[in-house]
């Protein structure tokens, strides 16, 4: 096996990793906002339910959640999961949405009440206050924890191999067996580092952009 073949195989695994990463982000970022609003709802049962779900999801290993999402429909409801990728995406979206929801909630609750009141006495509607006054301030405040979480997500995608999804680590393990060498594993590390390097630059750029004001 030559270097090119190894790299091709790793690139395929990396493509799966990227797909999982992007699907998770696209769905969990907005879903997290919905969960955050539920967790702050004035209606007690909704708030309670939402916070309990968040507690369960954050309090148990993601690996376990992947296994549950993949196997439970088949074992309990006699309705086996057709697609491993689908199962793993569902598990990731739920897990990350719960993490993001807590970040959002912290961000929203950290905005001083005076901002809402200033909007109110100027006659703005609650929607206008949220989108025109509060949102950008929240985004600025949550950027550092969100970027942390996103970088963790890149590495967490490797958990997908637990149900044999062919992501980067799985490809490199296959290559290790095929070549009887540990090198493919190191190569995969370089993929992760490069990917996270780009993300770090991106987040630095965004944080800098948002630094045009203080407070």
């Amino acid at each position: 096996m030559d270097f090119g073949q190894i790299m091709l195989s790793l690139a395929q695994g990396f493509a799966t990793t990227c797909l999982l990463f992007i699907l998770t982000l696209i769905m969990s970022l907005p879903l997290g906002l919905i969960i955050a609003f539920c967790s702050m709802s004035k209606i007690k049962p909704i708030r309670w339910l939402s916070r309990t779900i968040v507690w369960i999801v954050r309090g148990s290993p993601l690996m376990l959640q992947i296994i549950i999402v993949f196997y439970v429909p088949g074992l309990v409801f006699n309705y086996p999961m057709e697609s491993r990728m689908f199962a793993v995406t569902v598990a990731f979206v739920i897990n990350y949405a719960c993490y993001f929801s807590e970040i959002y909630r912290g961000g929203i609750e950290s905005i001083p009440k005076g901002q809402y009141e200033a909007g109110k006495v100027l006659g703005m509607t609650s929607t206008q206050i949220f989108f025109k006054v509060v949102l950008l301030q929240v985004i600025k405040r949550i950027m550092p924890p969100v970027s942390n979480e996103v970088i963790t997500l890149v590495k967490d995608t490797s958990l997908a191999r637990i149900i044999s999804v062919g992501e980067l680590i799985k490809s490199s393990q296959d290559m290790m067996k095929a070549t009887a060498s540990i090198l493919p594993l190191f190569y995969s590390g370089i993929f992760y580092l490069a990917f996270n390097g780009i993300l770090t630059l991106l987040f630095n750029y965004i944080e800098k952009k948002l630094n045009y004001y203080q407070g």
């Binding site: 005076g114 901002q115 200033a118 006659g123 004001y213």
Partner: protein, 289 residues
Amino acid sequence: MALLKVKNMRKDFDGLEVLKGIDFELNKGEVLAIIGASGSGKTTLLRCLNFLETPTSGEIYIDDKLIYDAQKDIDLSDAQLREKRLNFGLVFQQFNLFPQYNVLSNITLAPSLYIKADIKRKKKEANLEYIKNLFKPGARKIFLQKRSDLRQQANSMHEDIEKLAMKLLKRVGLLDKVKSYPCELSGGQCQRLAIARALALNPKILCFDEPTSALDPELTGEVLKVIKSLKSKDSTMIIVTHEMEFARKVADKVIYMADGVIEEMGTPSEVFGNSKSQKTRAFLQKEPI
């Protein structure tokens, strides 16, 4: 005829009675200063007037028209509440400027949101009208004309708002800070901007809650000067303040509040020079003039 009449306003927080029946009147062009010890309910009164708190009971009249009755207006929609609220403006002790907007946008944000909402509503009406008359000759032409009129109207309204904002910034002495952000202003400048922002909505009654209490002593002067300069026959103001000297010089009417009631009310010379109540005298003795 009084511009503002407040009748029997009461407020309690979970059984704690903070306002125990407040009654007063204010004429157009008058400045009312409210003084009183910490915890006497001054802020709560202003917040009730601005509908940031819901009074337990009480009535508010503007130009002798009942605009709010706490007992009846329990389930007001947000839109109704906003409309009532816009009779009043409020300048906060802590400014509460919008940090992500520059000085000019802090003033124009709210007014331009109304313009946008208004134009959007009119556009919808025009669309509906067009659909109704879809098959009449010339309907499309009328529709397009209406749309372009609306666009022009929106532009000129936005221009007007900007002009007004510049005028107000000149009045509060911030013309050279138009493009600055609140974090780049001094406390006194922040409060002057907050005043301009409140004025841009042209409230009938502008309320100030200790506008200088968050400021360093050397910055209070510039803010008080601006407030004083606002005094005119058309502007009516309610100012909660610990600046006794300012209250005495600028106010037409002074209310001394103690424990949720108006202990004494009158002209500055009546309240400061000739107070009837023992409590008032004791309070004034403690406050340096």
